[in-house]
């Protein structure tokens, strides 16, 4: 599924891409894959997260986005949980089991 | 643009901004405004303190 006019799509349509694995094509032949964590409603910038040895974040500026393609429609429970915690402060030690 | 360019008369800028944010973010407007205010303050304080210059001097893209 390809999308054009990304910056004009609006919050409800951007929300459909949340927590999905996507491929973003951007200016000058860049291509980035990752789990879509958010889309800034002000700049249409896309936040992608990928889990490797480290948690890597890639933000593609809204003005540079050419196409967003969904690769995997749903994150498994483990990935969804990791996605929710990426930008949250680590849990306080006393709450750990 | 989502923001109206026609300002009604006799309205203070703060009120107008609050009304616009309320229209955009509904019940979460106060929370978003607080986060944005903290971020903007940080940006402005750093710029005052460090006096950064644009790099590159000439924009790469216009």
């Amino acid at each position: 599924m390809m999308q054009c006019g990304w910056p004009l799509m609006g919050p409800l349509r951007w929300l459909h891409y949340l927590n999905k694995e996507v491929k973003v094509r951007a200016g000058k032949g860049e291509e980035h894959r990752g789990w879509l964590l958010s889309v800034d409603p002000v700049s249409a910038s896309v936040v992608l997260v990928s889990f490797g040895e480290a948690v890597a974040v890639r933000v593609v500026m809204g003005h540079a986005v050419e196409a967003v393609e969904v690769l995997r429609a749903a994150a498994d429970d483990e990935t969804a949980k990791r996605l929710r915690s990426v930008f949250l402060p680590p849990p306080s030690p006393c709450l750990d089991p | 643009s989502l923001r109206s360019s026609v300002a009604p008369p006799l309205e203070r800028p703060g009120e107008r901004r609050t009304a616009e944010m309320k229209k955009l973010y509904g019940g979460d407007a106060a929370k978003i405004m607080a986060m944005e205010a903290a971020m903007q303050l940080n940006f402005e304080r750093n710029c005052d303190l460090k006096q950064p210059k644009y790099w590159p001097v000439i924009p790469l893209k216009l």
Partner: protein
Amino acid sequence: SISSSAASDTNSEQLQKEQDARSVLREGFLRCLLSMTNKKVQFQMYENVKVEATFGASDIDVLNFQVSDLHTPIGVQKEALIRCQDVISFTFDV
């Protein structure tokens, strides 16, 4: 408004959905920017320019990034502002 109550109910429901979506998305993005504070960030810019810098802060309109120790192709600039319009994408490790 002079629209019928049914229509305005639908409209206000739609509006609220949109506001909720916008709030969730904006908060997620602001948290992302906040988490970048003092992190090393690699910027991919137009004209095939790649630079690395320590992130300071962004303005809320996402027009400028304030950074330190910017490694440019011709040397290090201690304090700099990067125009977001010049940037294609940027990356950092959490």
